[in-house]
């Protein structure tokens, strides 16, 4: 894209990146229109797709000045697959999920995870959810089970919960340096890691991928740029997403059994 100031970017972002977006959008001219969707929609990919599609059409209808839509999302459990714009150009990063957006580079993410497969990620937005593995989550989940099951069954379910956490061995904290004092979040991650018996790593991410995305500086290497009517299709190679046309036929996944997009 030419960075022509006659173009205005509309950003649709996941709530987990809201703080980063708020800080980065201040540097973009003209100011982008920003819409933030609830964090955690990827847990039900069909729901994410539905909400994202709704937000894209709303952006086009309510903001005639917006010419380009930037999705601050990865393919996110394939929940971003199949969405399209009617009028605007649209781009999303070639990313599996938000960790690439925070690290700023998908190759770096791939290499880190290959080197440390037992990594659980912590970031300002993820810590805000209040549900990252650690003593706080344990307490909440235990309470939830106690409301539904007797004590013995609740204990058993917590054993299973802790069982999968034991497969991890590392808490990696990443921020892009724009969300204020990181020390409380780093201390929180450290505390969780100690409680879980994991190592802790602190990574300095790179805001450039997000910054360029919301500024409309889109290249094909880092982003998938879609023309109106095209939609992102997941591919299991390093491109991560390719452009597709024609009808997108969603398949029901195990996570969205009861969901229908009305």
């Amino acid at each position: 894209m030419d960075g022509n100031s006659s173009r205005t970017v509309g950003v649709i972002a996941c709530g987990v990146l809201e703080r980063e977006l708020g800080a980065l959008a201040r540097f973009v001219e003209p100011a982008p229109v920003c819409v933030v969707l609830e964090q955690g929609l990827h847990n039900e990919p069909e729901k994410l797709r539905c909400e994202l599609q709704r937000a894209i059409f709303a952006m086009e209808a309510e903001h005639p000045d917006v010419t380009d839509i930037a999705l601050l999302y990865g393919i996110c459990s394939r929940g971003a697959e199949g969405v399209q714009a009617d009028r605007c150009r649209m781009a999303l990063p070639r990313a599996h999920d938000c960790i690439t957006l925070l690290l700023g580079c998908r190759q770096l993410y791939k290499e880190y995870v290959a080197q440390h497969p037992g990594t659980y990620w912590y970031s300002p937005g993820w810590i805000d959810t209040g549900f990252q593995p650690g003593p706080g989550r344990y307490k909440k989940k235990h309470q939830e089970y106690l409301e539904q099951f007797d004590e013995e069954d609740a204990e058993y379910l917590m054993e299973i919960e802790q069982g999968w956490m034991q497969k991890y061995n590392r808490a990696a904290y990443v921020d892009v340096g724009v969300t204020g004092d990181p020390e409380p979040d780093i201390a929180f991650t450290k505390q969780c890691a100690e409680w879980l018996g994991w190592d802790m790593d602190r990574l300095h991410g790179d805001a450039k991928l997000m910054q360029d995305l919301i500024s409309g500086n889109w290249d094909d290497e880092r982003y998938l740029v879609l023309q109106p009517g095209e939609w992102p299709k997941f591919v299991d190679d390093d491109r991560i997403v390719i452009a597709a046309t024609g009808e997108f036929v969603p398949e029901k996944s195990s996570r969205s059994k009861g969901f229908s997009c009305q």
Binding site: P45, I75, S77, R78, H96, D97, K110, V113, A114, P117, G118, Y145, Q148, F149, D153, Y156, L157, I160, W164, K167, Y168, F234, D236, D237, I240, E251, K252, S253, S254, R255, K257, G258
Partner: protein, 208 residues
Amino acid sequence: MSELAELTESIKNGKRKIAVKIVTEELEKNTDAGELLAALVEGMDIVGQRFKNNEIFVPEVLIAARAMKESMTILEPILVTAGIKPEHKVVIGTVKGDLHDIGKNLVAMMLKGANFEVIDLGSDVAPDAFVKAAQESGAEIVAMSALLTTTMPSMRETVEALKAAGLSTKTMIGGAPVTRQYAEEIGATGFAADAATAVDMVRDLVSA
């Protein structure tokens, strides 16, 4: 309610102590072990259907599966003595790089509950480990799971490795980002959207 119906009911509701008590008492009364097994399997089938219909969720299935597992611990030696054993074997695991095994464990438990022999390789299983287990066990099916799009390529690699090893083992895949279309694309035999469907799919594949 008959004891067998009560046994089915106790599995359905995840009442492991009641289930174990009934199995123990019925064995003492020389009730046919095959009939007890059928009652247990029926209970897990109902659990599977309710899960599929969104009437219950993962925790309830885990509690029911525990009741099933503890009942089977008592029943299994008697079944072995009686010469009743699972007819079919399934190798299962999460693919290389993927540590998320709750879904896989659920499928494994429900397959055991449906009286399949399950060779559970755990999580983060390399393609050659799937191949080795399939060769050694002679399993008819290899079932793979992935929660992340980042680890889906390992499914393709595993399907290819099984074919390269000359095995005619059928393959089945599942997990949140996995679709039927992806199964077709990588040449897997089957796809299941949830644990209950996985059991139906295995039943279909072994009888095909």
